[in-house]
């Protein structure tokens, strides 16, 4: 298989597709996503969509929430620890 064939047969990630079909590069004005209607184009803010994609990725990964709550627990432990120190000073 040539290099070219192996690239052509590779699976494409959703992000690669969105990167191409949502953002036409040259035409990018920061807000070029959905065009609807007769002759008039209606724009949707690109930032809205990017945040949607970010939510999608987080949703797909699934583990992100767990990590966050772990970090949260750690921080809480740190706080309790710090409070303990303060109590010692108060005594």
């Amino acid at each position: 298989m040539t290099v070219r064939e192996s690239i052509e047969n590779k699976d494409i990630a959703l992000i690669d597709i969105l990167d191409v079909i949502l953002d036409k590069g040259v035409a990018i004005k920061g807000d070029l996503i959905i065009s609807i209607a007769g002759v008039d184009l209606v724009y949707l803010d690109l930032r809205v969509l990017i945040s949607s994609v970010e939510t999608l990725v987080q949703h797909k990964q699934g583990t992100r929430k767990t990590v966050t709550s772990d970090q949260f627990d750690k921080e809480r432990e740190g706080l309790i620890h710090a409070t303990g120190q303060r109590d010692k000073w108060a005594n």
Partner: protein, 268 residues
């Protein structure tokens, strides 16, 4: 109220007459794709019921229904890709809808010259995408150890009193970050210029954050090229060589393609 038209792409009527469009399902999974001849240009479309699809409902779906976005983005991509394998195509972006056939026709007629030039430009060429990723940690280490201005700064700091060293070290971290960005851009620009030699056009696009790509490495470069088909082999070979040369230093250079020429056929 008449149906809305979802426009996937435009092809030359001459090519449309030589080969019939194969049967393909439309955007809602029910209707079929069909063609509308508008002079020299033929539009590939499907019907969508206007009570289900409007600017508001699509916006709402894109914002709130990720599964829908994924399914429909894949549908759009697969359909356009399929058509692009059969004809010279000017692909339209995701969710390009027209109110009716008349509005589509008047848009096409108003852009007749532009469309014709675009078809000529695209004939015999392919769109390829190149993304460069890098391991920031590894690169940072290299920059920190081999950059002369950082080395000099470090020496200067070691001669300072202890208290001041702390704040100066913070500054050096910022300097390393800046040098890292410079180094990344320098290398990416070098690769880009070299790859551009094989192409007709090369454009630089926005980088995506790690949250969006879901990868360990940072995206350092995102670019798109229009290449004569005969240059594609040497183009991907060049990328492979860069990959071998730079891979151990934390770089990944990835090509994908051929894509329907989304970036080189804008007419609206």
């Amino acid at each position: 109220m008449s149906d809305l038209l979802y426009l996937y792409g435009l092809i030359p009527t001459k090519e449309a007459n030589e080969k019939a469009l194969p049967s393909m399902k439309g955007f809602d999974g029910e209707g079929e794709l069909y063609t509308i001849e508008i002079g020299d240009v033929t539009a590939i479309v499907c019907d969508l019921p206007p009570n289900e699809y409007s600017e508001e409902t699509i916006k709402d779906k894109v914002d709130n229904d990720m599964d829908w976005l994924q399914e429909k983005a894949f549908h759009h991509h697969e359909t356009v890709l399929m058509v692009s394998k059969l004809y010279t195509i000017i692909p339209l972006k995701f969710c390009t809808l027209y109110k009716n056939e008349d509005s589509l026709k008047s848009t096409i007629e108003g852009n007749r010259n532009k469309l014709e030039t675009t078809f000529t430009q695209l004939d015999g060429n392919e769109e390829w995408n190149v993304k460069i990723y890098c391991d920031d940690k590894l690169l940072k280490k290299q920059v920190s150890e081999s950059n002369p201005s950082i080395e000099a700064k470090r020496k200067e700091i070691s001669e300072l009193p202890k208290g001041r060293q702390f704040f100066e070290k913070k500054k050096i971290d910022q300097l390393i970050d800046r040098e890292l960005e410079n180094e990344k851009n320098r290398l990416c620009e070098e690769v880009h210029e070299k790859l551009k030699e094989h192409s007709l056009h090369g454009n630089i696009k926005k980088n995506w954050s790690k949250d969006v790509t879901g990868r360990q490495e940072h995206m350092a470069w995102n670019s798109v090229f229009l290449l004569p088909v005969s240059n594609v082999d040497e183009f991907v070979e060049e990328i492979k060589q860069y990959e071998e040369e730079l891979g151990h230093a934390g770089w990944k250079i990835e090509a994908s393609g051929p894509w329907p020429p989304y970036h080189f056929s804008s007419f609206s």
